[in-house]
């Protein structure tokens, strides 16, 4: 049974026909008999005590079924924090706030009605007597003496202080270095803005005592576990969580939120199903935000450009409460990546996590790693400027040489495999770097400001093993599971704990299984996103689905092949030890004529008339894979820009990406993810940024009219290429591809703009996004200094 090569082929996606015909099944598409509709009453204030909530008028509004406040939710606990750092201050985070609201959008009541309109109308009738208090939203002011405090457990607004690396060695290196560069680097707050707003449908069935929750989740099992065991105290096995088609996540749909928790509680109270779908306004206010760091970084260099020491002090804004994985993002996903792809003499990083009266901050595409890459790559360029050295040259001088099995960094991690210089060389060739520099020089003569920026990044995917992450504070394992069920006809259903919300698992995982079993892809179906069907799963984030979820499937197939060999050997009167599995057939080694196809073994397993003694009927396997280490994709990106000297407007002329994500299952899909990731990272550099009014604590960028999500005409075509350095960590050799673009691109763009302005003496711009106003001001300031 010969099949075309599946692994490494750009196969069109099998999920697309339903999306291009409007037949996708998103949560808000669901309509159940007896459905009710929810609207939440939210705080209009950044910080206010709740004196009283009067729901009487709302309750009497026509069509209203019920109104609940936090006081009605007796026996319900705080939303949990899933990553506990030592001495972390964990304030209560109730599904509906009862004592005080701590950010604009904090929910205080739910109104449930026969129609969405009635729910929204009645929500306006809920009267909350607010006692408005002073608020603090700024990262750099949250822990200042006298800043307004919002939690009893953290009167100084400090949630944690964390450090990694060698402080004494780093201080000594910086003190004695011939060249040091110090910069303040602000990594602004972003809003993920998946195009599908968050939504849920919760249904309780009185007759069986069972719940079903449809929810926009990247990890339905994690949602179920956190909600049942920690918050609602209802039996986990009585709750089925389904994450159907999910319209993008980018991290924002990992976390357990207030709304699905309240709806799951309320459906039992009213004994009817409830649907809630966020308006975009609510997405802006309540989806976990990303980034929001203020960093002081200092790089010590030798005269010939070797990195002697790197000191980083970061304040990370966590928002008003600890979102599910918030403490991990600015610590273990950030500080541990600060070695980059370079040999460094010494590193020390201190992080202070602070509470503010803002939307909680958690993982957003890249989560910690973009912040690390931005600090490293911006400092590399600032260092090159101080040395008057070419930034490409400085990078080449410091790359860690090629290694195949482990490089111990100065910040705890041990990289899997890497070969950084060739990736960068490939980029420079694509760019025609020498020509660019001469064009740039020629342009300057005519008043044209051209610039190029590099980013030679590293990132960490498939965070594991569970034992290690547990010792670092994770309250969950970080393995993945899969089940492969071979049907009597030889067709295969694959159940994976990973979840696809745009990644294309229904295609790539079928490629993987079809390839390994030597059967056509059409004989393989992929099932995901339903706790009632899939055994257990940790879900999809951190670019882990192929490397962790895929490896669990490889382990299942190994088990199926082993059992198949026993059955086939029996039928062929051979020894199981002498059996091979090649191209969809069980073959006796050395006797290529003695063979049985996969389908016949499958049928025999279910019709076991002529069957090996003691063997169980059936052909199905479940595996749990807990990786031995992280995987470390890397790459080199370049951006070429032109800056208008009169307006400060930045035009992207070229964007080039050479990524190394290990082996690739479907190049078309990997390219697509790089494109999308680059767009998000470019957008952070140039356009996006969540802004709070310092006085009122209002989210000023609270809609798509105010928050600059990139449009088609703002972005270029991307030039992509790859090198392939397989990881030794997993048998597939895949590292992870979902976040590379976002991690790499922001520093490439900012470095390009700074390079364009370098002729004016500019070596840094402290704050992103690089809007025309900010760039223009930078130009004016540089000119006035001259």
């Amino acid at each position: 049974m010969a099949t075309a090569k599946l692994l490494g082929a750009s196969i069109k996606r099998r999920e697309d026909p339903r999306f291009i015909t409007g037949k996708g099944h998103f949560t808000d598409d669901l309509k159940l008999p007896g459905m009710t509709y929810a609207a939440f009453v939210r705080s209009p204030h950044a910080h206010a005590k709740i004196r009283k909530i009067d729901t009487s008028r709302a309750s009497k509004h026509p069509g209203v079924v019920a109104v609940f406040t936090g006081k009605d939710m007796t026996g319900v606990n705080s939303l949990p924090c899933g990553w506990l750092l030592p001495e972390l201050k964990v304030p209560p985070h109730m599904p509906l706030a009862t004592d005080a609201a701590r950010y604009v959008g904090d929910p205080v009541a739910i109104v449930i009605a026969e129609t969405q309109e009635a729910a929204l109308d009645a929500a306006e009738l809920v009267a909350v007597d607010w006692d408005v208090r002073p608020s603090v939203t700024r990262t750099d002011k949250a822990a200042a003496p006298g800043a307004p405090s919002m939690h009893e457990v953290a009167p100084d607004n400090v949630a944690f202080r964390w450090q990694i690396g060698d402080a004494a060695a780093t201080d000594a290196a910086i003190k004695s270095a011939p060249v040091t560069v110090k910069k303040r680097i602000v990594n602004q707050r972003l809003v993920a803005n998946a195009m599908e707003p968050r939504a849920c449908v919760a249904r309780y069935e009185e007759s069986t005592g069972e719940w079903t929750l449809w929810v926009t989740s990247q990890n339905p099992h994690v949602h179920r576990l956190l909600m049942t065991a920690f918050v609602l105290g209802i039996p986990e096995h009585k709750v089925r969580v389904i994450a159907p088609d999910v319209g993008g996540g980018f991290g924002s749909k990992i976390f357990l939120y207030n709304e699905e928790t309240v709806c799951s509680w309320a459906t039992k109270q009213i004994n009817r199903p409830i649907r809630w779908t966020a308006e975009r306004r609510e997405s802006f206010q309540t989806d976990a935000h990303g980034r929001d760091h203020v960093t002081d970084a200092e790089l010590a260099l030798s005269k010939d450009g070797k990195i002697l020491g790197f000191r980083i002090k970061t304040t990370a804004n966590l928002g008003a409460y600890l979102s599910t994985f918030a403490p991990a993002v600015p610590t273990y996903l950030y500080g541990t990546l600060l070695n980059g792809v370079y040999e460094m003499g010494a590193i020390h990083c201190e992080v202070t996590g602070v509470f503010t009266n803002t939307t909680p901050v958690d993982a957003y595409r890249g989560a910690g790693r973009p912040e690390a890459a931005y600090v490293i790559e911006r400092m590399m360029d600032a260092g090159a400027a101080a040395l008057k050295m070419d930034p490409a040259e400085l990078r080449k001088k410091n790359f860690i040489p090629k290694f195949d099995s482990g490089y111990q960094t100065k910040v705890a991690l041990s990289y899997d495999s890497g070969n950084y210089a060739p990736t960068f060389d490939k980029l420079l060739t694509m760019l025609d770097y020498k020509k660019f520099r001469s064009d740039q020089q020629a342009g300057r003569g005519k008043g044209k400001l051209l610039g190029v920026g590099f980013s030679t990044y590293i990132e960490a995917c498939s965070i594991a093993p569970s034992k290690v992450v547990g010792s670092l504070g994770a309250q969950a394992g970080l393995w993945e599971s899969g089940t492969i069920r071979v049907h009597p006809t030889g067709k295969v259903t694959v159940f994976t704990g990973s979840h696809s919300h745009g990644q294309g698992h229904e295609t790539t995982m079928a490629q993987l299984v079809g390839d390994h079993l030597g059967i056509p892809m059409d004989d393989v179906d992929i099932v995901h996103g339903d706790t009632g069907i899939v055994p257990f799963g940790m879900g999809t984030y951190g670019s882990r689905s192929a490397s962790v979820g895929g490896t669990a499937l490889v382990m299942c197939m190994d088990k199926i092949k082993e059992k198949g060999k026993i059955i086939a050997a029996h039928l062929l009167e051979a020894n199981p030890k002498d059996m091979d599995y090649v191209g969809g057939e069980f073959v006796v080694k050395g006797s290529p004529d003695k063979k049985i196809p996969f389908g016949q073994v499958a049928l025999t397993a279910y019709v076991p008339h002529n069957y090996p003694e003691g063997a169980e009927p059936g052909l199905e396997a479940t595996s749990f894979y807990d990786p031995s280490n992280f995987c470390f994709p890397f790459g080199a990106h370049a951006c070429v820009v032109e800056v208008d000297p009169d307006t400060g407007h930045v035009t992207i002329l070229r964007y080039l990406a050479v990524d190394d994500v290990g082996n690739v299952i479907n190049p078309m899909i990997v390219d697509g993810m790089v494109h999308g990731g680059v767009a998000q990272g470019v957008a952070q550099a140039l356009w996006e940024g969540a802004v709070y009014d310092e006085e009122s604590g209002q989210l000023v960028t609270g809609s798509l009219m105010d928050y600059a999500l990139p449009k088609a005409e703002m972005l270029p075509m991307y030039e992509t290429a790859r090198t392939e350095t397989p990881t030794p960590v997993n048998p597939l050799g895949v590292k992870g591809a979902g976040e590379t673009g976002t991690i790499a691109s922001t520093p490439a763009v900012v470095n390009a703009v700074v390079d364009a302005l370098s002729g004016l003496g500019v070596d840094h711009i402290e704050v992103m996004p690089l809007t025309p106003e900010r760039v223009w001001k930078t130009i004016q300031a540089a000119k006035s200094k001259k």
Binding site: T21, G22, H501, A679
Partner: protein, 155 residues
Amino acid sequence: MKTSVTINGVAHSHDVEPRLLLVHFIRELAGLTGTHVGCDTSQCGACVIRLNGQAVKSCTMLAVQADGAQITTIEGMAKDGKLHPIQDAFWEKHGLQCGFCTPGMIMSAAQILERYPKPTEDQIRQQLEGNLCRCTGYHNIVKAIQYAAEKMAGT
């Protein structure tokens, strides 16, 4: 108010509140959930439909304003089990990832290609001003529309 429209060739008539948006008429009353709602300020374009031949954001119109109109939604693009060339192009060129913005993109693309049968890259990007995508970075959406233009010119 009684509102009657024809959607994909099928008549739909409902008594609606005057404030009901057309997109909610299509999704909740006609039961055609391929048209999506991605924002509340008419930016994202996930709700684009064709109304009397024009690409329209169905969240920016009241249902009652559409009384008597001929509407095509994403569900009406494929004919006799055959994909519209633009649908096929989005599939062929990997012009979608999560698929949420896709219906609006395809409906807008249909009008773009009526206006510009041989569009340049710049024309496509400018004409997509009212459609947001967070997954693709637009690269493959632009490629898909170029590919559809070639296919449609060839037939």
